[in-house]
């Protein structure tokens, strides 16, 4: 963003704004207590994932005592096969992060160009066609879409043109597709506002091409709106992955995800193994709160920075 701001065309676009917009937003963000709480939760979650990697593989084997309650040796206790719950949760956290980052990145790559084109050419056939396709995806709730796609296609590895994609690829792809309508709408709505600004006309007058205006200057100015939405969608992605796993539609056991650990806990929980239900859920909850708080905090920081 800062690199783009130094290009000559952008100084035309935002002459009325201070040049240190990024620093300004960052300062507002780090002085926002709610946002910092959010950052703390996300760091905690990433920490668990990293710690699990450091611990090595031995903890994942069925070597410990069966159904042990939480202790110094097994922080989260063990399950009915003697596997360390902390190690399994840490592996699940890695899956959650992969799905969150992967699906948001892919969703943005597909949706932002679509939304921007639709916004710039609003009310033309191109806008109509693009937004109708987006509407079809939006017309199904995420879990129903997941059920249809993963339920019928199965949850095994996917064979595409000679490559074998791991099961996680399907989950990432599905959540990315579900994100497309949301991101596309935000990009479209922001471009609709932005294209009425004086700088767009000014750039047109000095002979800058339409696509360069759209994907150069206009793009830089809609980045804040997109970042806020992307942070919020990380939370949705974590939630969706865990929920799909919980319904048996995600990555299959014995490979752990936070959702399928919870699903398995359902049978042994009522025998007294409360830790199996509490800890994985607590981790999911913490990271969802984290991403939501960070999303809200970013929204506030950008809003105040732009003075509106």
């Amino acid at each position: 963003m800062s690199a783009a701001i130094s290009t000559p065309s952008t100084t035309v676009s935002r002459a009325d704004k201070p040049t240190g917009v990024v620093r300004d937003v960052a300062r507002r963000f780090v002085t926002d207590p709610m946002a910092l709480v959010g950052v703390f939760f996300i760091v905690l979650f990433v920490g668990v994932a990293v710690l699990g990697r450091v611990m090595g593989t031995s903890a994942r084997l069925q070597t410990a005592a069966l159904d042990a309650s939480p202790s110094i040796k097994h922080w989260f206790g063990t399950d009915n096969l003697g596997r360390d719950l902390f190690a399994r949760c840490a592996d699940g956290a890695v899956v959650s992060l992969q799905v969150a980052v992967g699906s948001v990145a892919i969703g943005l790559l597909i949706a932002v160009p679509i939304g921007m084109l639709a916004g710039y050419f609003a009310t033309t056939w191109l806008d109509e066609a693009l937004m109708r396709i987006v509407d079809v995806i939006l017309s199904l709730p995420l879990f129903v879409l997941g059920l249809v796609v993963l339920g019928f296609m199965g949850t095994g590895p996917m064979h595409v043109a000679g490559f074998v994609l791991p099961p996680i690829a399907k989950v990432i792809g599905l959540i990315a597709i579900a994100a497309v309508p949301i991101f596309a709408r935000v990009a479209r709505a922001s471009v609709l506002v932005e294209r009425q600004e004086d700088y767009v006309d000014a750039l047109k007058v000095i002979g800058v091409g339409r696509m360069r205006i759209l994907f150069g200057d206009v793009f830089v100015n809609i980045v804040p709106a997109i970042i806020v939405q992307a942070a919020a969608w990380m939370a949705v992605a974590v939630f969706a992955e865990a929920g799909l796993s919980f319904l048996g539609l995600g990555i299959q056991p014995p490979d752990p995800t936070l959702g399928n650990i919870l699903l398995e806990s359902r049978s042994s929980m009522l025998l007294g193994q409360w830790w199996l239900a509490v800890f994985p859920g607590l981790l999911i909850f913490a990271v969802i709160v984290g991403f939501n708080l960070v999303g809200d905090g970013l929204g506030r920081a950008f809003e105040r920075a732009s003075g509106s």
Binding site: P141, L147, M153, G154, A242, L247, R266, F285
Partner: protein, 325 residues
């Protein structure tokens, strides 16, 4: 208004058609041979071939597609592979349970969200607003599958015999027991919907409280409580119709999860089970019913909203959609 209504209806039919086509496409991409699945261990190459012929699975794809669509339009999705009952009636039979849970959840959520909104509307209660805002953010972040499990753990293991933890008593059997078996599922389902509704109501409330007519009512000496309840709240409710679609999505997704956790014989449980058993006719029929209800309810909400607020159809006349405004 009429142009808008026609456009929305035609669009909804097209989307529904798209979903039925998607179901067809995916059932045929699905791994495994349906005939082999049905016959199980008793399958011989001949019997598989016979059954495939009987089910019409040996015909060209385009013929199968045409037949699937024409049957689906008439509500015929085939027979369940297991119970051999027609698929659609099997699905419809499960609807009342899910509907009851959804209606109760709606009543609880709307009441609670309105109550919270009235509480936080007073200017001097800034600290209370902060607390409620934080709590609803937490509520929105608790996954239904976790809150459902925790309630099951608490009331199924530690505080037993207070409310039924899991299972279902039908309405026709005993009304009291039926309502008792609704308690935990409805609580788990309501947490995110209360939070969502409150947040929508709150943001429109903040907007409404700034309006001239509220200032005027206060200036005219109407008590603050009455201003909030009689003037602000009715005006704040209308714009929240825009989150109805989102709310419905939450409830549908929630019903899949909650009915699975509490072993409730509703549509949600049926969908999940039919996919687990690869019972494709029932799976197709239930997904079609879910999509159909979702689309129709959204359509009704949008049309009601448009007729209440002429701005929407005006915006449509200028070919800009509501969401851009």
């Amino acid at each position: 208004m009429r142009a808008y209504a026609i456009r929305r209806v035609v669009g909804s039919v097209a989307v529904l058609f798209g979903i039925i086509s998607l179901i067809f496409g995916l059932t045929h991409l699905a791994p495994g041979d349906a005939a082999a699945t049905i016959l199980g261990n008793a399958a011989t190459p001949e019997s598989i071939k016979d059954l495939n012929h009987q089910l019409g699975l040996d015909q060209p794809m385009i013929v199968q597609y045409g037949r699937f669509i024409s049957h689906a339009v008439r509500g015929d999705f085939g027979k369940s592979y297991y119970s051999t009952q027609p698929a659609l009636p099997t699905v419809i039979h499960r609807l009342p349970v899910t509907l009851e849970l959804s209606v109760l959840t709606m009543i609880v959520s709307v009441t609670a969200a309105l109550g919270l909104c009235v509480l936080t509307a007073r200017v001097r209660r800034r600290w209370l607003t902060r607390v409620v805002d934080a709590v609803t953010l937490v509520g929105l972040s608790i996954p239904t599958f976790w809150s459902g499990l925790l309630l099951l753990l608490l009331f199924g293991l530690y505080w037993r015999n207070i409310v039924p933890a899991g299972g279902w008593t039908f309405f026709s059997h005993s009304i009291v027991d039926n309502l008792r078996s609704c308690i935990l599922p409805v609580v788990a389902l309501s947490v995110p919907t209360i939070a969502l509704l409150y947040r929508a109501l709150r943001s429109s409330m903040v907007d409404v409280l700034d309006r001239d007519y509220v200032t005027f009512a206060r200036a005219a000496g109407v008590r603050e409580g009455k201003v909030i309840r009689r003037v602000a709240v009715p005006n704040a409710i209308v714009p929240t119709a825009t989150v109805a679609g989102l709310l419905l999505g939450y409830m549908l997704g929630g019903s899949l999860i909650i009915e699975t956790i509490y072993s409730i014989p509703g549509l949600g449980q049926l969908v999940v089970q039919s996919f687990q058993h690869r019972d494709y006719p029932v799976a197709s029929a239930s997904v079609a019913v879910l999509a159909f209800s979702f689309i129709v309810i959204n359509l009704i909400v949008d049309l009601t909203y448009a007729s209440l607020s002429p701005r929407v159809s005006e915006l449509y006349a200028r070919k800009i959609t509501m969401r851009d405004a």
